[in-house]
């Protein structure tokens, strides 16, 4: 397994800039999640690392090997990269064993070694006995697992996963995801997981990189990107976020829905405060530092619920763990307990 270092990578197709001076690095054995809306360049970044696209400028280094320097690129087939595209892309004309053995060098390995590797891989993905099955005879989750085994069988420098779970239904998806991540961790694999599912990114990765319009605009540990977003928009992309109009005075104090104490004549900067729904306490008792409101809606999820409270014509969403006994129409008081994140306008 190797580290990855991308610096100043730019890719454009004709006039359209896909990756814009992108830099990113990953330590050996780390798993990164690339999170962003579709069209932001996630797949292009992955394909550049895999050598399937020729960048316009910038460098990519895998381990100590320089694989891409401006438009000079090492061909994809020499990079030893495990690539798992969206649909798995199993070879439809080969059976499971042949798919897994595809990348194994028949001039270097004996037949026994190859079949042993295939066996080990099938054990790893818990599909023993599936050697002779054709891809069309596998379920979606099984196909993804075989695609992963095929990628891992060549002992890749890096594994690239391009939304491998997106086609699966929710339940299977969670299970398979944790299996796959566990597998990658057990083998100390450096990996990049492309996803547009924020939960998937936060659960799986050591490093979460948030992409917008061909750039990585924030990266860090899941905890950091969740709790220290660099902008309200970024906050919204990693989880539910409540954006409230706010103003900051010269002495640093902030006035917003939960604390309207600033005298109106002080000079101030307008902006927004970002609050996560779980950072608000809801109760029936009234304290001095709380805002009063009326419950407008309750979305019940079982393990918790999202309660919409109307405070001064503003909808405030609060996450509360179940079970609870609040009801729509009830008067409640809200208190902001979490960190204060103020973003000045512009």
């Amino acid at each position: 397994m190797s580290s990855l270092e991308i610096s100043h990578l730019s890719v454009s197709f004709g006039e359209k800039v896909i990756l814009d001076d992108l830099s990113f690095s990953l330590k050996e054995g780390q798993i990164a999640a690339l999170l962003g809306p579709s069209g932001c360049g996630k797949t292009t970044m992955l394909r550049s690392i895999a050598g399937l696209i020729k960048p316009n400028s910038g460098t990519i280094r895998i381990g100590k090997q320089l694989v891409s320097l401006s438009s000079l690129v090492m061909p994809s087939h020499k990079r030893k990269i495990g690539y798992v595209p969206q649909d798995g892309a199993l070879f439809p004309h080969l059976n499971v064993a042949e798919n897994i053995a595809f990348g194994l060098d028949k001039t270097l390995l004996t037949k026994d070694q190859i079949s042993q590797t295939v066996k080990d891989m099938l054990l790893l993905i818990e599909l023993q006995g599936f050697e002779k099955r054709m891809p069309s005879e596998l379920s979606g989750g099984q196909q993804t697992r075989v695609a992963l085994a095929r990628a891992l069988s060549i002992k890749p420098t890096i594994v690239l996963l391009d939304e491998p779970f997106s086609a699966l239904d929710a339940e299977l998806r969670g299970d398979l995801r944790s299996q796959v991540i566990e597998l990658l961790r057990a083998r100390n694999t450096t990996a990049i997981l492309v996803t547009h599912d924020r939960e998937e990114a936060l659960v799986s990765a050591d490093v979460v990189a948030l992409m917008r319009e061909g750039r990585i605009i924030q990266e860090g540990s899941p905890e950091d990107v969740y709790s220290l977003p660099i902008s309200p928009a970024i906050a919204a992309s990693t989880g539910e976020a409540l954006l409230l109009e706010a103003a900051q005075s010269d002495d640093g104090s902030i006035s917003y829905l939960f604390n309207n104490s600033l005298p109106p004549e002080t000079s101030k900067t307008n902006g927004q405060v970002v609050i996560r729904p779980e950072e608000i306490m809801i109760s029936r008792s009234i304290s001095s530092n709380s805002a009063k409101g009326k419950i407008a809606k309750i979305n019940y999820y079982g393990h918790d619920a999202m309660v919409t409270v109307k405070v001064k014509s503003q909808n405030v969403i609060v996450r509360i763990p179940g079970p609870f006994d609040f009801q729509v129409g009830e008067e409640v008081s809200l208190e902001h307990t979490g960190p204060m994140r103020f973003f000045p306008s512009n």
Binding site: H77, R79, F91
Partner: protein, 535 residues
């Protein structure tokens, strides 16, 4: 750039540039090969333009606007229009009936509707002349050409109908639409492109047909070209008329393109599991069966009845050695043609299988446009070019080469369609697993695309066996193929002598036709490539 240029960096940079050079070298070789093929495939056109330009302009104008030419143009236009309208009506109706009506043995009923493809139009024509004495003229030609080209429209429409999602029909029904409304508002808009592709084939076939029209004494453009060429060897004049014919087929192709562009949105992907709802009405079923039976009688039963009775009447006088040698040379020349076509198409196919660039796409488009070129035109051009080539002219290899040029477009279309079946993710994965570009082609692309490409090659082989005008113009002196034997006997009404040759040709041709009429193959083969027109 922040890169620190250590020694290691330098060595890896040189490794990078070396592999980049290797890649571009093999790509350059392939591109030059494609360039050569592109040039070869445009030789007929280039030649015709040069030849027509050499003729004094006044003479060309006179030739174009003399009463005779205008009359021929009129006849050709009537033929094409009538065949287009008739195949459109009957083809779409029959395909819809085969698709939507509950019929006994539904899955094999399609075979007799497709089988006429195995019967060359000149064989079909002569069986009808033998069956109905005095059978000739424009109406007879419309009758023959409609029946010969109906399979194109039926197959293309069926392919389209199969791609329509059944659940849409159920939704439409739940919204209160009658079957009639469902067909015109839900189904038809989605299959317009398919229908247009099928009608295009029948229009091009009609335009380029030479055998049927000349046996029926109908003078269309192809016959005129052949006559001018025969009678006067005035190749300039023949070239001018040939350009008119090309203009005609270009118009047809453009119209088809327009229709297809307007139906782009209709490329729905169908869930393979959906269950089909069939029309059970007794009246509809009876009418359908009646039409299918009539079609079977006129386009299969009668030709075969004539061929077999004539063959049996003739038992004593069959010249077995001639029959054998004609069969063998037909197979040989057609095989050479198919092989050359495959060799010519290969470099383009390889480039198309990777990430095709603009040049590759351009070459593919130009070559594909060539499928509108009538055999008479290609033959005319190659006779003139070939006569300057000395030894190779009038050999079976030059004839094979002519077949290859004539049918290259079909093969390229079929290669392109087969390659489109290879998912691009699969190629990427193979590359990432260490397969170099050649290994990707060998281990992944070829195995997946091979069945389609070999079927395409077989179709070129089949089509070359039935080809008439180019064979007549370019065959080596003394070489007789099944097609030329049939032609020379049938043209002077010696039907009995033609029967054994025709029977063998039809039987050989029936095999691949049977292959493509299998429902699972039919849709994938049909829409994109044309087959069968012997021109």
């Amino acid at each position: 750039m922040q890169t620190t240029y250590s020694r290691r960096t330098h060595s890896s940079i040189s490794a990078l540039s070396k592999s980049a050079r290797n890649q571009s070298a093999s790509k350059l070789a392939l591109r030059s090969a494609v360039g050569i093929v592109l040039f070869l495939s445009t030789v007929p056109m280039i030649y015709l333009f040069i030849r027509a330009a050499q003729k004094p302009f006044g003479q060309s104008v006179d030739l174009l606007f003399r009463a005779k030419t205008l009359q021929v143009l009129g006849t050709t236009a009537i033929l094409v229009l009538a065949v287009v309208v008739l195949t459109l009506i009957f083809g779409v109706t029959l395909a819809s009936a085969l698709h939507f009506v509950r019929l006994p043995f539904r899955s094999i009923l399609i075979i007799p509707t497709v089988l006429p493809l195995a019967i060359p139009s000149y064989v079909f024509t002569y069986t009808w002349i033998a069956f109905v004495p005095g059978f000739s003229g424009t109406f007879a030609a419309i009758f023959i050409l409609t029946l010969s080209t109906l399979p194109y429209v039926i197959l293309a429409t069926l392919a389209g109908l199969r791609s329509v999602d059944e659940s849409q029909i159920e939704v439409a029904r739940s919204l209160g639409l009658s079957n009639y409304e469902i067909f015109f508002r839900v189904v038809l808009p989605q299959v317009k492109g398919h229908i247009s592709a099928g009608v295009l084939l029948s229009a091009l076939y009609t335009l380029s047909d030479f055998g049927a029209v000349s046996l029926l004494n109908v003078e269309s453009l192809t016959v005129t070209i052949q006559n001018i060429y025969r009678a006067s060897y005035d190749r300039g004049a023949a070239a001018v008329i040939a350009l008119v014919l090309i203009a005609f087929s270009t118009i047809v192709v453009i119209i088809d393109d327009r229709v297809k562009n307007r139906t782009k949105a209709g490329e729905a992907v169908k869930a393979p599991t959906s269950k089909q709802v069939l029309i059970e009405s007794k009246g509809t079923r009876l009418i359908t069966l009646f039409i299918l039976t009539s079609l079977f009688i006129v386009s299969i039963a009668i030709p075969f009845y004539v061929l077999i009775t004539r063959f049996l009447d003739n038992r004593v006088t069959i010249n077995w050695p001639d029959l054998l040698s004609a069969s063998l040379s037909t197979l040989l020349v057609a095989a050479i043609g198919a092989a050359i076509a495959l060799v010519l198409a290969a470099p383009l196919g390889i480039l198309l299988s990777g990430r095709p660039d603009k040049f590759t796409r351009f070459a593919q488009r130009i070559i594909t446009v060539g499928h509108g070129l009538p055999g008479v035109v290609v033959g005319l051009a190659l006779v003139s070019v070939g006569s300057k080539l000395g030894v190779i002219y009038q050999t079976i290899f030059f004839l094979g080469f002519a077949y290859a040029l004539l049918f290259l477009a079909k093969l390229v279309a079929s290669i392109n369609a087969s390659l489109a079946r290879v998912p691009s993710g699969v190629k990427d994965v193979a590359t990432s697993l260490g397969a170099n570009p050649w290994a990707v082609i060998k281990k992944v692309v070829a195995p997946i695309a091979a069945p389609g490409i070999s079927l395409g090659t077989i179709l070129v082989f089949l089509t070359a066996m039935k080809e008439l005008p180019v064979t007549l113009m370019l065959r080596p002196t003394g070489l007789e193929t099944l097609a030329t034997e049939i032609w020379s006997s049938a043209a002077i009404n010696r039907f009995n002598e033609a029967a054994p040759y025709a029977l063998i040709l039809v039987l050989i041709a029936a095999l691949p036709t049977f292959l493509i009429s299998r429902p699972d193959k039919a849709d994938r083969m049909f829409v994109n490539e044309s087959m069968g027109s012997e021109k």
